[in-house]
Symmetry: C2
């Protein structure tokens, strides 16, 4: 039943990085971590479940913000050590900074420039 | 000069994961690791340079296969712990298995199914 989970090469902490990619646009929304249970729940529930390294607990993406990720496809790479999720981002905001996605800084010359707008303030996301 | 490198949150091994995304298609080609020197060289040379954890040395992507990655953009995420490269994949093959990209397995039911063809055999890539 869970042989597919055994094929994943978990790191020393029992985790694997997971990339969430917006299915409709191809944009990379964010990268987070999963443990075995998070990946299994993601497959069962059809919405992204990660492992929060800072809070040391399962984290159903959007559980506070409402910005859940509906999972359309789960992929594994050649080394079995990275997961790729194709998702639909509910609310259009994946990043805790209130931006559409987390990769909002671009290297220009010798500095990182922020090139994506805040769509909703973090305060209003997390106190709603 | 290298203040931008100091803003990167290197992990305990001095590394950061880097996602290579094909600029033209949005496809995620692969994920590899960079140390500080690899990221600096990537920015300087305009082609992807990674850190090989298995060989414990810098690895200019394509140095053996010819499948270099021309880097069009370098991005950093909100937590400063993931790099995103927008690239042009020379030769159209990013994966060492001879496939266009590394995420060629999809979860269908309870097993990983390979859904992408081998474009060129690894033998012919690495002995050419």
């Amino acid at each position: 039943m869970s042989a597919w989970l055994d094929e994943v090469r978990w790191n020393g902490d029992g985790l694997i990085p997971a990339i969430a990619q917006e299915a409709a646009t191809g944009q990379i929304l964010m990268v987070a971590w999963m443990n075995r249970e998070a990946l299994e729940l993601t497959a069962q529930e059809g919405h992204a479940v990660y492992w929060s390294r800072s809070r040391k607990r399962l984290w159903r993406k959007g559980e506070e913000s409402g910005h859940r990720q509906k999972v359309l496809e789960i992929r594994l790479d050649c080394d079995e050590d990275v997961i790729l999720l194709k998702v639909e981002q509910i609310g259009g905001i994946a990043c805790h900074t209130g931006r559409h996605h987390c990769f909002f800084r671009v290297l220009r010359g010798d500095r990182w420039e922020t090139v994506e707008p805040v769509l909703k303030s973090p305060e209003s996301i997390y106190t709603a």
